[in-house]
Amino acid sequence: MYIITEGGPKALDLNFTKEVSKRSGEDIQACYQCQKCASGCPIAEYGEIDTNQVLRMIQFGLKDELLKSKAIWVCVGCETCGARCPNGIRIAAVMDALREMAIEEGVAPGEKDIYLFHQCFLDSVKSLGRTHEGSMLMKYKLKSGHLLEDVGVGIKMFLKGKLALFPHSVPSKTEVRRIFDWAKNKKSGN
């Protein structure tokens, strides 16, 4: 079966539909487009696809369009959509699954700063066991090029003792590394 898209006719990729359902544990086919999710979405105006449209596109198997979209990255995971869905679809879990698939398939993130922030945050956790906000933010600033943003507030926070100068490293770092290594391996577990 084909679907007409802006780029011309496309074959439905139902493997994609199944894969998203499996990863998220959510019944995507239960969505009947009432749009309650999108009407309560706080960040609807910042993505290019509405929440209900994301579900429709999964039903149609429009994998490429979704994995490269901004919408999956600007989703802030507030769970408002899922709490209000009359069919009980946890759309935040669906968004998590879509981002994970985009990363695994090496698709360039639709919002590269957001993905970069997540990477800097997790690098800090991986090396220290806890987040060190000061060094994590500095790394993000250097890599993103947004060096001068928030300098004033950064200094204010530092003077108030809200940005610890030195990281607090935990003794159970070996276990933290083991979790990271296990999570990187796609084959074991879910």
Partner: protein, 282 residues
């Protein structure tokens, strides 16, 4: 009474006043907090937004340590609470995940739920009546907008809160402390959360809107229970907006007449001392 305590990374840095007030208030309520000795980061939004296994694995490490302590665990940070509770829920309800975590972390999970949101624990387990009996300086005349945000509230099957649209725990607690919680429609709206650094303009719009609606409804201050909401509501706000934002434990400290309360205000990015002093002066 002894409780395990998971502060979370923010309470060691940007939300130090939350940590100090949690410790002071717990002591005043005769609760001995035992900080989990080797607690590690819950992974926060960044783990669940990018890697499902990591989002379960990191909190599971802490759940193992909570089990070793054999105590109920209170978590002040909404995001940490949400991640730990989600993992606990999955380990209780999904045998496959539980077995996988037991194998990776080399322990046997006893299936006993122990993770509590600090606010919910105070309200439900310690009890509003018991807390109100300790009030020395009622928060008279303080009109307050109780802001719950997202992660202590949703999803409801994980958080087990009274309502995902109109929760009342914080309102009832503040009322018992002598304050007047206002009715407003934005108590569970999102502040922009983890996008604060990567999408600051978006977060300023979302947080600024919440503050504007609190003010419009007649609030003197906003009270909340999440370190990230606190940072966003103080740091990401339109110029000229000066409504103060408190952690609920800070207002508990004031009402319980704790001398430490005066030390917390200087840690805020938006000075709340005018409102705090007005309450203290009665």
């Amino acid at each position: 009474m002894k409780l395990a305590y998971y502060p979370g990374c923010s309470l060691e840095a940007t939300a130090k006043e939350f940590d100090s007030s949690v410790r002071a208030v717990s002591k005043a309520l005769d609760i001995e907090l035992v900080e989990i000795p080797e607690w590690t980061c819950c992974g926060a939004t960044s783990a669940h937004a990018t890697n499902h296994k990591l989002s379960i694995g990191l909190p599971a490490l802490t759940i193992k340590q909570i089990q070793n302590l054999g105590l109920d665990c209170v978590v002040p940070c909404s995001a940490c609470f949400n991640r730990l509770k989600t993992t606990e829920y999955q380990m209780i309800h999904d045998a496959e995940i539980r077995q996988e975590m037991e194998k990776v972390l080399n322990f046997k999970y006893d299936g006993q739920p122990r993770v509590y949101d600090l606010l919910a624990y105070f309200v439900e387990k310690i009890g509003i009546k018991n807390i109100s009996q300790k009030v020395q300086k009622p928060l008279k005349g303080l009109k307050i907008a109780c802001y719950y945000g997202c992660l202590s509230v949703r999803p409801g099957h994980i958080t087990e809160i009274d309502s995902t649209e109109n929760p009342m725990q914080m309102d009832n607690l503040l009322k018992a402390l002598g304050a007047t919680p206002i009715n407003w429609s934005y108590k569970v709206d999102c502040c922009g959360a983890g996008h604060s650094v990567s999408k600051p303009a978006m977060v300023t719009n979302l947080s600024g809107n919440i503050l504007a609606k609190a003010r419009e409804a007649g609030a003197d201050a906003v009270v909340n229970s999440c370190p990230l909401c606190q940072t966003n509501l103080e740091m990401r706000r339109p110029q000229g907006e000066d409504i103060p934002v408190f952690f609920f434990t800070e207002l508990m400290g004031l009402a319980l007449g704790l001398p430490e309360a005066g030390n917390w205000w200087s840690k805020h990015l938006v000075d709340p001392s005018k409102v705090a002093n007005a309450i203290q002066a009665g």
